[in-house]
Symmetry: C2
Subunit: 204 residues, 2 copies
């Protein structure tokens, strides 16, 4: 599944993800619903933490806190919903070693400004786009009705998250610069996932 997002100016189409998730990941995820659920809870809290960190780093940048603070709240709300379901199934959060995905992606964030801010938005947007793509796949293919309903309920707001990062970039950088950089980062994102991580994770 390709996720496409309209660039407002100039009118053209960009895509966040350059490759679709493999059937191997989907099989792995469907065979390990509890691990995926626990990792999902971790992903929501980490996404909230990353957005809060961005807000703290660029505190006096007008328009940033206004966009990221509601996103933090929404990630925490999703975290709570997923945690409830984990508990309903008789389990709790447990530490799960993270797959290489997040750290490997973050290594591509350039150190100097204004590149660092742009890369931070794009990396966060890519992670959101990938999460959205995988939740859509799970919603479509899981035989577990409760999980299907969970993913369905989260998908609309998850889609808003990558458009928030897109909007933050568009407000501050030239379209060509964004699209060129996104192409590189998206190719890298796709390369990281080309080898299935042995442990079932949202981003394995």
């Amino acid at each position: 599944m390709k996720i496409r997002f309209e660039v407002q100016d100039p009118p053209s189409t960009i895509k966040w993800l350059v490759s679709s998730t493999s059937n191997a990941w989907l099989d792995q995820a469907i065979r390990n619903p509890l691990k995926i659920l626990i990792d999902h809870a971790h992903c929501e809290r980490k996404a909230a933490g990353a957005a809060l960190q961005l807000m703290f780093r660029y505190l006096c940048e007008p328009g940033l806190a206004e966009a990221l603070s509601p996103l933090v709240r929404e990630e925490m709300e999703h975290f709570e919903i997923v945690l409830e379901l984990i508990k309903k199934r008789g389990h709790y959060l447990e530490p799960l070693p993270a797959p290489p995905y997040g750290t490997a992606l973050a290594k591509n964030i350039r150190k100097g400004e204004p590149e660092r801010m742009l890369d931070s938005f794009l990396v966060a947007g890519l992670i959101e786009a990938r999460s959205h793509e995988r939740m859509s796949l799970l919603e479509m293919h899981t035989p577990d009705k409760e999980l299907k309903n969970l993913y369905k309920s989260l998908l609309a707001s998850e889609a808003r998250h990558f458009s928030t990062y897109w909007m933050l970039a568009q407000e501050r950088y030239a379209s060509k610069e964004i699209v060129d950089r996104l192409k590189k980062l998206a190719a890298y994102e796709s390369a990281i996932l080309s080898t299935l991580h042995p442990e079932p994770r949202m981003h394995s």
Copy 2:
């Protein structure tokens, strides 16, 4: 103003704050409404950050994330409300050097567990209790109706925050241990504020 909170077991009364805020602080705050408002926004985001950090540190501690995640959301919501008012008044967030309060208090958190967790709850609760006390004072005494309404609207949920930290402590530690430690930390908190910080802040 003393804030008292009922200990559920054994039945007795403890107080978070051992001293009331001075008139000197109130005068300073009322003469500098914009600085206090901007510092207030910073306090809300820092409180959210601190709660999220606690959640991350004690990730697999049942009951902690359930209590702290809604608190994080509420702090962010307050942050957004205060930021709106700052913008309505033609300003934005600006970096304000923090007063010694938070850092000085945090130095009292013991390093080893389980003391570290208890102290973290009590320090966070003390900060919330002091914020609540000062917002109550501002609500009572500010001549600015818009600010009066702001503080009034925030006070009820701010009060819930220190009781959240109290509850987290009560669920995990013996009442005597909590009360003994709180007495020491509260005395220290009061000592930090006994000298008015020259810059107007929520915790100057």
